[in-house]
């Protein structure tokens, strides 16, 4: 079906843009909602995983005999229980290697064996009885160290891709990426001022409050059911079935309510292990990660090392921008978001000469996975820090410098495509005119800002919409609802059908009840699955009109749909009283049977998104402690379907960025072991750390969606790192090039600056 996608700017919305109550609200405030760990099955066993204490070690042998003999132990599994069915698919092989180590343990926390037992205590005891003979190998956890020629090499078969000629010596550099256009060397010749800086950021974790949980039930004949918290149960089904060597259609995955993901639940960790234990024990097995395991053995994001060089004329026009982005992705190739980092780094500028080089690097750390706008926040931190410094050197207001060089409609982006209508300029102008921007600052306070970008994605969605005889609607979607998307799906269906929101209910279907849906990621759900809901509703309208046409004995194309009613299209069609959705539904058993609408497709036309953030921070000059005193997010949503949840995305992303900028970091010891695997020492922002987060939603319609919707979930985490670094620089006079800007680091920066100042004075 050709998509009539261009948003109608004159359309008046009845439901979209309002703030109805979410359909799962009562379940979630009463404790009734079932999350990953909340399900049980008759006769279920407890699954527990044994993990490597070493950052890098050869697994010479595994002896499970004592554990197997322990009373109450029903299954013990190791690498031997995962024969290689991956058929040359290297990414799948790596996923399998990650969920259960094979020749080597590649990071502290890497799974090496698992047990299923009748009680948690017996399972714990059984793990202690498993004897593993390790040969400890040299390890590397720092990205710059890992790239050195003498670094311990994790994979002897790793020869850097993207370099011509391809190296013949193995290294930890999996791939080199390059994006850009023009000639940066020529561009720098035209510059009056050039600033060059190096930056480092530490690894952070998505920090979802719900640990991974899975309840698996698999029979020896290969039929299996799995209940788990995931951002993509179809992905879980496909990956688990292929790892276990069973038919995809024999595994039915039901998605539980999901207690946060932010990209961290877009792959499998414990799910294939739970299934393999269940197969071997022939009983249901439940595996739930501890928080310690979540930190050590799920998928945090990359630590990075970056170099940025930007040149400007004295009039404030950027002549060239060049960057190198080194991201470690754990022990496997293709896992770090170095590519997205390099692609997004300069995307907010109109540039004639730009180059961004990315390196995907292996380290003895957990296999990284997406974290909200994967790769973009770190690159943005580096670039927008240099931008701010350049503006000060030019004597130009940073906001004006950004406006002057901002990407606009028609700009060839730094990663290739030419932009259509985009919202960057409007967010910058709105920031400049915002009361926050003009508000006075107190002592020891500084103000910073930054603009950021995210691509947004489309992808595959499948939606079914059923109309029972009372004329209410059930929408079956296959995109896990991670932050209120069931409400926005219902709203879009109600909007199309011209009925009340309360008449529509959405459910998340299991993998056997509905066709494939991609993972809820890339800010795709409200855009792509939402558009599938709109198109499924339009499909249902066609069928409703056909029933009315048959009832009236007139051609189908002589019937139109208006505000919930089928009506004759005009005077020539005949004089019939309009039929309501409820009337047509009530008559449906006698007019041809059930009425349903469907749509399945792969969505194109996702609209890029931009945001500008303003941050005021107060720094205690004696302790280095800092406090955000005011924060404003201005972002283009395209069209806000449910504005309250759009604001929520803006606020949540900003606060994750605040944590990343100020406190959160993976701290490794010399032994390659994580030293802060818990919420006490890995400190995410708490309520008392923060002010209210002001938001402003702009709506510059995306031409690729009937209502103009863009994704909104990810962009909000991109600008905070730089906005806060710029605010800290304004408050202290010190430019920090390493994250997090924790109190000790800020204090050292202030003291070093004082010493340098005193030396200069002397």
């Amino acid at each position: 079906m050709p998509l009539d996608n261009a948003p109608d700017s004159k359309r008046k919305y009845n439901v979209v843009g309002t703030r109805p109550l979410r359909p799962d609200g009562i379940d979630k405030v009463t404790g009734r909602a079932k999350f990953g760990a909340d399900a049980t099955a008759p006769g279920q066993l407890v699954g527990r995983i044994l993990r490597s204490p070493h950052a890098h070690a050869k697994i010479k042998s595994i002896d499970t005999s004592k554990a197997e003999k322990l009373a109450g132990v029903k299954a013990v599994i190791t690498r031997d229980d995962f024969p290689d069915h991956t058929d040359g698919d290297s990414a799948l092989y790596d996923t399998m290697y990650n969920i259960m180590a094979r020749e080597k343990a590649l990071y502290e926390g890497h799974a090496v064996a698992a047990v299923a037992a009748t009680t948690p205590a017996i399972a714990r005891q059984a793990l202690k009885l498993i004897k593993i003979d390790y040969e400890i190998l040299p390890h590397v956890t720092d990205v710059d160290e890992a790239m050195k020629p003498n670094a311990p090499v994790l994979n002897r078969k790793m020869f850097t891709d993207g370099v011509d000629p391809k190296p013949t010596k193995a290294s930890n550099i999996a791939r080199r990426f390059e994006f850009g256009h023009g000639d940066v060397e020529e561009g720098f010749k035209k510059a009056d001022i050039i600033i060059e800086r190096s930056f480092k950021t530490e690894a952070t974790h998505q920090g979802y409050i719900e640990p991974h949980a899975a309840l698996a039930s698999m029979s020896p004949d290969g039929t299996a059911e799995l209940w788990c918290c995931t951002q993509g149960h179809y992905m879980v089904r496909d990956v688990c079935a292929r790892i276990l060597g069973i038919d995809i259609s024999r595994l039915r995955v039901t998605q539980s309510e999901i207690g946060g993901g932010f990209g961290g639940k877009t792959t499998v960790f414990i799910e294939p292990v739970a299934l393999a234990l269940s197969r071997k024990a022939n009983r249901p097995v439940k595996v739930v990660m501890t928080r310690d395991e979540v930190f050590k053995a799920s998928g945090p994001t990359s630590s990075t090392s970056m170099d940025i060089k930007i040149g400007v004329t004295k009039d404030g026009l950027i002549t060239a921008a060049d960057g190198t982005f080194r991201y470690q992705g754990g022990p496997f190739a293709g896992c770090s978001p170095a590519e997205f980092g390099a692609m997004s780094a300069f995307a907010q500028f109109h540039l004639d000469n730009v180059r961004a080089i990315g390196y995907d690097v292996l380290c003895n750390r957990p296999k990284t996975i997406s974290y909200r706008a994967p790769g973009a926040p770190m690159a943005n931190f580096a670039v927008e820090s240099v931008i701010e410094e350049l503006a000060h050197k030019l004597g130009m207001a940073p906001i004006d410098f950004r406006i002057k060089n901002a990407a606009r409609e028609g700009t060839k982006s730094s990663y290739g495509p030419v932009y259509g209508p985009i919202g960057l300029g409007p967010t910058l102008e709105a920031a400049k005119n915002h009361p926050h921007f003009k508000a006075p600052l107190g002592p020891n306070q500084g103000r910073g800002m930054a603009a950021g970008f995210w691509f947004n994605f489309g992808g595959q969605s499948c939606v079914s919409l059923n109309i029972p005889t009372d004329g209410t609607i059930t929408v079956s979607v296959g995109s896990p609802d991670i932050g209120g998307s069931r409400a926005s799906m219902c709203m879009m269906v109600a909007e199309e059908l011209g009925i009340n929101y309360e008449q529509v209910r959405a459910i998340i279907a299991d993998t056997s009840s509905l066709g494939h849906n991609d993972v809820t990621d890339g800010s795709r759900t409200t855009f792509a699955t939402g558009m599938a809901c709109i198109l499924a509703a339009r499909d249902a309208i066609k069928k409703l009109c056909a029933r009315a046409a048959a009832t009236w004995g007139i051609p189908e194309d002589a019937v139109t749909w208006e505000k919930g009613f089928a009506k004759p299209a005009g005077a020539n069609a005949g004089d019939f009283a309009p039929l309501s959705l409820k009337e047509i539904a009530a008559a449906s058993p006698g007019t041809g049977g059930p009425i349903a609408g469907h749509h399945e497709y792969s969505a194109d036309g996702a609209g890029v998104s931009f945001a500008t953030h303003i941050c005021d921070i107060e720094v205690d000059q004696e302790t280095g402690a800092s406090k955000i005193v005011r924060y404003t997010v201005i972002q283009d949503a395209g069209k806000a379907v449910h504005p309250a949840y759009v604001e929520g995305q803006f606020q949540g992303g900003a606060v994750q960025g605040i944590g990343w900028a100020l406190n959160e970091e993976y701290i490794y010891g010399k032994d390659g072991r994580l030293q802060n695997a818990g919420f006490l020492d890995y400190r995410i922002p708490v309520c008392s750390d923060l002010p209210m987060i002001d938001t402003m939603i702009l709506e510059i319609p995306n031409p690729g969606h009937p209502y103009g919707v863009r994704g909104v979930g990810e962009t909000s985490i991109v600008p905070p790192l730089a906005a806060i670094a710029n605010a800290v620089a304004a408050a202290t006079g010190v430019r920090f090039t390493q994250l997090p800007m924790s109190p000790p680091r800020i204090l050292k920066g202030i003291e070093d600056a004082k010493k340098a100042g005193a030396k200069k004075a002397a």
């Binding site: 405030v29 999350f35 409050i209 719900e210 991670i482 606020q651």
Partner: protein, 164 residues
């Protein structure tokens, strides 16, 4: 293994259960009594997702042993609404979109109720410190704080009407 028999009250109802010596109250609630509203986010008392009240006092149920609650009154999220009638905090959390994924929500509601029971007219700062033991990773806390402020305002109005 010898189980310990415990008698206590949960949401006003008498309960009797047998647990092992190393089982936490959270384990007992979730695994023995089928009350899965309290969540395990960390098991170290850092996240507040398992918040309950013990004799009215806000407590992380992961830091209390099941055997220790002999004779005590436990309040959980399952006891917050009265039949069909939601507690004002529950209503306001939905109205203000103060939850996204919702996994931290039971803990926040227990903590917020505990705060308002003691201080019906908290300042924003008092609310923020009152809820500082509960982690939320989705919302940035803004809408949670607003929902608590709005609830407090409404409950004060209702109570003054009742008083008059």
């Amino acid at each position: 293994m010898s189980g310990i028999t415990v008698n206590a009250k949960i949401n006003g109802d008498p309960v009797e259960f047998i647990c092992e010596a190393d089982e936490t109250l959270l384990d007992v609630l979730r695994n023995r009594l089928g009350l899965t509203g309290a969540k395990e986010g960390c098991s170290t008392g850092d996240c507040g997702a398992c918040s309950v009240t013990v004799d009215g006092r806000l407590t992380c149920s992961c830091l209390v042993l099941g055997a220790e609650i002999e004779g005590h009154n436990i309040g959980t999220i399952e006891g917050m609404a009265h039949g069909e009638e939601l507690h004002p905090l529950q209503k306001k959390f939905i109205e203000h979109a103060a939850l996204q994924c919702g996994v931290c929500t039971p803990g926040f509601l227990i903590a917020a109720k505990s705060l308002l029971d003691k201080n019906p007219d908290p300042t924003e700062t008092e609310i923020r410190f009152g809820l500082a033991g509960n982690l939320c990773r989705c919302t940035g806390y803004d809408k949670i704080v607003r929902a608590v402020q709005d609830t407090a305002k409404e409950m004060r109005k209702t109570n003054s009407r009742k008083g008059a």
